[in-house]
């Protein structure tokens, strides 16, 4: 315990220091040095994270019976609002944050290594590493947050580092636009998050997770002891509203419909950043948030949980459909990410609490873990491909399997994993989600089942288009070649993780349910083959269709598209959601609100002030006319004055 407590601060301090050092002095360093420095330091951080996580899980120190205990490694008062409400910066260790530590440190370390190759020779290399360090700091801070406000703090920091990374190529209009969009959309969601926090914390008089999620007898203590249980607003229980608002915050970061629009555009950033932030870590923050507050959701706001599952289901199918029609490989992956995160949300939405009931919860976290690995892998592989062909478009690719062998193999592994083919990791996590959905809500299950097939289809469409399908029309500018080792190493490493976790699960070596569950108590589950088999079937069917259409260069895809021209076009244009947003922001907010307000200010308010000054001015102008300088006028006034006085004194 003491040992971990003494180590824990370094998890946050080191990346922050790196950020400051690289940010302030990066300019003076040689790029290579800064890259190496960043990577090495983050390597140390990863080791600490691993150490903490492994120690936590396997030393047995932190278990009472089968239940993992929540441990606060350190907690430091940061800002005191009033008697009860204190924002602290601390380090909360429980299975949830331990798992996240592993995910983040792994992916982040891989991205650090990968970027050394990918970003080689780019201007602003040091800046990239600085922001990467900032992001790692923020993300780690987020997952180890001891209170909801600390989470919010790092939540914002994550958002801003995402902004900075997307706008890394700041001289490109599209990048700047995408960055702005990402930031504003998430910020919009964060506002709801903040309001949710305010409501929740006002009534429970605490920000701390350990108090907020403390459960006795199937109720959350903090809430039972407050007015929240009985309060309603507009007919809705206030607690539900609060939790829904908090979920909206998560939805913004996790790109749930309809707040998903920023994620595809965020692909304007450098690919390693996309891999880290927009695929593996930051976007699952929403899932993490819901998971973190899961006890409140499940006990006090079950309806919200239901809504979450519906939104998740809709988003997953929605994004999957769009993914089928995209031609930019990073965008396909982006929509796939949206869809997969929605999967996790669904899993949380259908989950119950405790033991097997909490299967969805476990599955969600498990899927988060596996997805982070293989999606980061996919992105990095995509990065390697882009690095090789200098384009994001599918049309500029094809037949790359010989030219990029390592990328090809690792990409295939990841595709199989995401398509849910055993024994890769994705199969198991996805399977559990389907099981959990099946037991709770058949409709959601049906949707998810379909999405599983769809996922297999679009992933293999991507795979075939890149690695098979024949050479691109224009040919390659110069022969694509395999990326250097520092780029392929992360690919191989992540592929290995994907395979090994899958296999070890298959052979029962590591059971995820032992590590993480809704009440942190381990339980046993078995693979439900009655659901697993059809889901494999769906995956296989998806793959087969993709094979049929895209293995060779034929007219089949075009033909297929011609059958569903309209829907295809809709999906290709992402169902015009972007356009709707654009309309709302441009035409309604800017033109209907901002412009009139500015006009009102300049003309009415300021006009009123100017009118006042005009009136004053005019009056004094008129008054000064009396002082005309004409002697005769003065004389007249004088005489009349005298006469008046006389008349007055006469009392006539």
């Amino acid at each position: 315990m003491e040992q971990l407590a003494s180590l824990a601060p370094y998890v946050l301090i080191l990346p922050l220091c790196m950020f400051l050092i690289l940010g302030l002095f990066g300019k003076k360093m040689c790029p290579k040095v800064s890259g190496l420095l960043g990577t090495t330091v983050f390597g140390v951080v990863s080791v600490i994270c691993y150490y903490i996580a492994l120690k936590y899980f396997f030393s047995g120190e932190y278990q009472i019976g089968e239940t993992y205990q929540q441990v606060t490694l350190f907690n430091m008062e940061w800002l005191r609002m009033n008697q009860d409400l204190v924002i602290s910066i601390g380090f909360l260790l429980d299975p949830l944050s331990a798992i996240m530590l592993i995910v983040i440190s792994t992916v982040s370390l891989m991205v650090h290594i990968y970027s050394m190759g990918y970003m080689h020779g780019e201007g602003g290399f040091q800046r990239f590493y600085a922001i990467l360090s900032l992001f790692s700091f923020a993300m780690l801070g987020l997952v180890v947050a001891t209170n909801i406000f600390q989470m919010y703090i790092f939540w914002e920091l994550v958002g801003v580092s995402s902004f900075l990374l997307i706008s890394f190529y700041y001289f490109k209009h599209s990048a700047v636009r995408a960055a702005k969009k990402a930031f504003i959309v998430t910020r919009f969601a964060d506002m709801f998050f903040l309001i949710g926090i305010l409501i929740l914390s006002y009534y429970t008089r605490t920000f701390d997770f350990d108090k907020l999620t403390f459960i006795t007898d199937g109720h959350v203590d903090a809430i039972v002891n407050s007015d929240l249980r009985t309060m309603t607003f507009l007919g809705f229980p206030v607690i539900s509203i609060a939790m829904f608002l908090i979920f909206l915050g998560g939805a913004g970061k996790s790109a749930m419909f309809p707040l998903h629009i920023w994620l595809p555009d965020a692909m304007e950033g450098p690919t390693p950043a996309s891999a880290l932030i927009h695929a593996a870590t930051m976007v699952v923050a929403g899932v993490y948030l819901v998971a973190r507050l899961f006890p409140i959701y499940t006990f006090e706001a079950p309806h919200v949980l239901q809504i979450i599952s519906y939104i998740g289901a809709f988003t997953s199918i929605f994004a999957a459909i769009i993914a089928c029609a995209q031609t930019d490989i990073k965008r396909v992956l982006a929509f796939s990410t949206i869809s997969q995160i929605a999967y996790m949300m669904v899993a949380l939405g259908v989950s119950g609490y405790g033991g097997v009931n909490g299967l969805g919860y476990t599955a969600s976290m498990w899927h988060l873990f596996t997805h982070a690995m293989f999606k980061a892998l996919l992105f990095m592989a995509a990065g390697a491909i882009i690095h090789a062909v200098h384009s994001n478009e599918m049309d500029a690719m094809g037949n790359l399997r010989k030219k990029l062998p390592i990328t090809h193999i690792t990409f295939l592994i990841a595709c199989l994993a995401i398509a849910g083919i055993p024994p890769f990791s994705g199969f198991f996590s996805k399977d559990e989600i389907l099981v959990a959905a099946f037991e709770t809500n058949k409709w959601v299950f049906a949707v998810e089942y379909f999405v599983a097939g769809l996922t297999a289809f679009y992933m293999f469409r991507l795979y075939y288009r890149i690695f098979w399908f024949g050479d691109p029309e224009e040919g390659y500018e110069h022969e694509p070649h395999e990326a250097p080792l520092n780029m392929t190493f992360p690919l191989m490493f992540l592929a290995a993780v994907t395979v090994i976790t899958g296999i070890s699960w298959a052979f029962g070596k590591v059971s995820f349910t032992e590590l993480i569950s809704s009440d942190f108590t381990s339980y046993e589950i078995h693979t439900h083959w009655n659901i697993a088999l059809p889901s494999i079937g769906a995956g296989v069917i998806g793959i087969l269709i993709a094979t049929f259409l895209y293995l060779e260069k034929t007219g089949r895809p075009n033909k297929a598209v011609s059958y569903i021209k309209k829907p295809y076009l809709w999906a290709y244009n992402k169902f015009y959601i972007d356009e709707i947003y654009l309309f709302v922001t441009n035409n309604i907010i800017f033109q209907r609100i901002c412009q009139p307000i500015a006009w009102f200010d300049r003309h009415i308010i300021d006009g009123f002030m100017n009118l006042l000054s005009w009136v004053t001015n005019k009056t004094s102008q008129e008054t000064k006319e009396i002082q005309s300088g004409y002697v005769q006028q003065y004389a007249w006034v004088f005489i009349m004055g005298v006469i008046t006085i006389v008349l007055l004194s006469l009392n006539l």
């Binding site: 001289f171 910020r187 002030m609 000054s613």
Partner: protein
């Protein structure tokens, strides 16, 4: 302590730049020293409201004293002022014409500001308020740019209009707070005690209902409260850089500070009764300023409207009348002071190079002057409330505090206030995206140079202060909170 500050001010008058910066630095040291001393003394002496008090009669007939003293709030404000003043001095190094006169008036302005913050006597306070106001006219009118005469006139007249209200308010307070058979006083503490005594004895306090709005509006004009804010965009746009900094950074805080120290402290009952009117007004200015900023094209206008929004939040928080929100308000004052000073400093530097403030004519400056632009981004982030920078601390404290009110009316306005953080993000990012990022718009801009040393000193100094507050807000918050308590306890839900 006061005397030291004045000595420095006095000695600097005939000298220029170097001496100015040395003086400014000395001022900063003095303030820091004062802060440390204050914190130490506070440890020992936890009872008295104000520390370092001094008093000297200067107009016997009305019992007007020159009495000064500081509590946590004024210390924070003094610290803010000295930081802004010294950075302002550095920023003004580029000044070419009439340097001596410029600094003279600049000093006059700062004397007014310091005096205001440390005064404990209504009349002295008002005196310093005016002392701070008048130099603005000259500074803008002589060293400004654009329609400077108009702006200077507008600014001065509107603020003077405000102080007319204020004067009525002050005399109203003075005459009505005279205890029966006793002598009238201008001393704030004594007045507060008298008013409380009056209330306790069941005396007539209906006069508060007349003079509270007058005083509040009087200071509200300076605090850029809707609809009395229109001097701010024009004034800021025309003022020279350092004056904008000092004005938006410190002078506008006089408004909030005055509302707090005079209007609310001396007339707590009326404040509670009539708060709703001003909550509506300030709520409007929060959102309204932010929306207006979204479509402006002049950098300084954007920032001025942003100030309207932020200062609106200050007053809004004050009106929430509990300790947390009020602490937030003071934090917001400090934070906004620093960050808006940074903004104006940077805008001035950019303007000095590009000779335009129209955002449509700029673009891609990040490539040309990276240091300035990074500073600008940081200022922007502070403004939109990024954690780790001061804006966040302040805003969150305000929102948490404001949320203590459970009724529908307050809740609505709190949520309205929260929405401003999104709009803030919109306009900040709009500017950042437009002028700093993207391709270079104007070929002539490519040859421009980055910051020179004194500009760096100014910008980094402010950033350091912003970050320091953002990273470790607790000491400041506690220090302010100590001062707030005395006032907050007058209100029903104060503590």
């Amino acid at each position: 302590m006061m005397a030291v500050i004045f000595c420095i001010n006095g000695e600097k008058k005939s000298l220029i730049r170097t001496i100015m910066s040395v003086g400014g630095f000395a001022l900063l040291c003095t303030s820091t020293y004062l802060t440390i001393q204050f914190l130490e003394l506070r440890q020992i002496d936890t009872t008295s409201e104000f520390l370092f008090t001094e008093s000297a009669m200067w107009y016997e007939r009305f019992n007007i004293h020159y009495s000064v003293g500081v509590d946590g709030i004024s210390v924070a404000m003094l610290l803010l002022s000295s930081i802004v003043v010294i950075t302002g001095v550095f920023v003004s190094f580029a000044m070419e014409e009439k340097v001596k006169e410029y600094f003279l008036w600049f000093l006059m302005l700062s004397i007014g500001v310091y005096g205001f913050f440390i005064s404990l006597d209504l009349f002295t306070m008002f005196l310093f308020y005016e002392v701070a106001l008048i130099p603005m006219y000259l500074l803008i009118g002589l060293w400004g740019s654009g329609k400077k005469e108009y702006s200077a006139m507008k600014l001065t007249l509107m603020l003077m209009g405000g102080s007319a209200f204020l004067m009525v308010g002050i005399f109203g307070i003075y005459y009505n707070s005279i205890p029966e058979g006793g002598e009238g006083t201008f001393n704030i503490q004594e007045i507060a005690a008298n008013v409380q005594a009056l209330k306790a004895n069941g005396g007539d306090i209906s006069w508060e209902y007349i003079f509270f709005p007058l005083t509040f509006v009087g200071f509200g004009v300076l605090g850029a409260m809707f609809p009395f804010h229109t001097w701010s965009p024009d004034g800021h746009a025309s003022a020279p850089t350092a004056v904008s900094m000092l004005h938006a950074g410190v002078l506008m805080k006089l408004g909030g500070y005055g509302c707090f120290r005079i209007a609310m402290y001396l007339m707590p009952d009326a404040a509670q009764e009539q708060a709703w009117i001003f909550i509506i007004l300030t709520g409007i200015s929060v959102v309204y300023g932010a929306f207006s900023a979204c479509v402006q094209t002049d950098l300084k206008y954007i920032n001025a409207y942003s100030s309207v929004s932020h200062c609106g939040l200050v007053l809004f928080a004050l009106l929430m009348m509990n300790k947390t929100a009020m602490t937030g308000a003071i934090l917001q004052m400090v934070s906004h002071g620093l960050m808006t000073a940074l903004f104006f400093a940077l805008i001035g530097m950019i303007y000095g190079r590009t000779h335009t403030r129209d955002i449509r004519e700029m673009g891609g400056l990040m490539k040309i002057m990276p240091i300035l632009c990074v500073c600008y981004v940081i200022a922007g982030l502070a403004s939109l409330g990024l954690p780790g920078l001061s804006g966040f601390v302040a805003e969150m404290t305000i929102f948490v505090g404001a949320f203590e009110h459970t009724d529908f009316f307050h809740r609505t306005f709190v949520i309205l206030g929260c929405s401003s953080i999104v709009i803030t993000a919109v306009y900040i990012l709009r500017v950042v995206g437009k002028i700093l990022m993207g391709p270079v718009q104007d070929k002539h801009h490519e040859t421009l140079t980055d910051a020179v040393w004194y500009e760096k000193v100014a910008a980094f100094g402010l950033i350091a202060a912003i970050a320091a507050i953002g990273m470790a807000p607790l000491w400041l918050s506690n220090m302010i909170g100590g001062g707030i308590e005395n006032i907050a306890k007058l209100f029903t839900y104060g503590l």
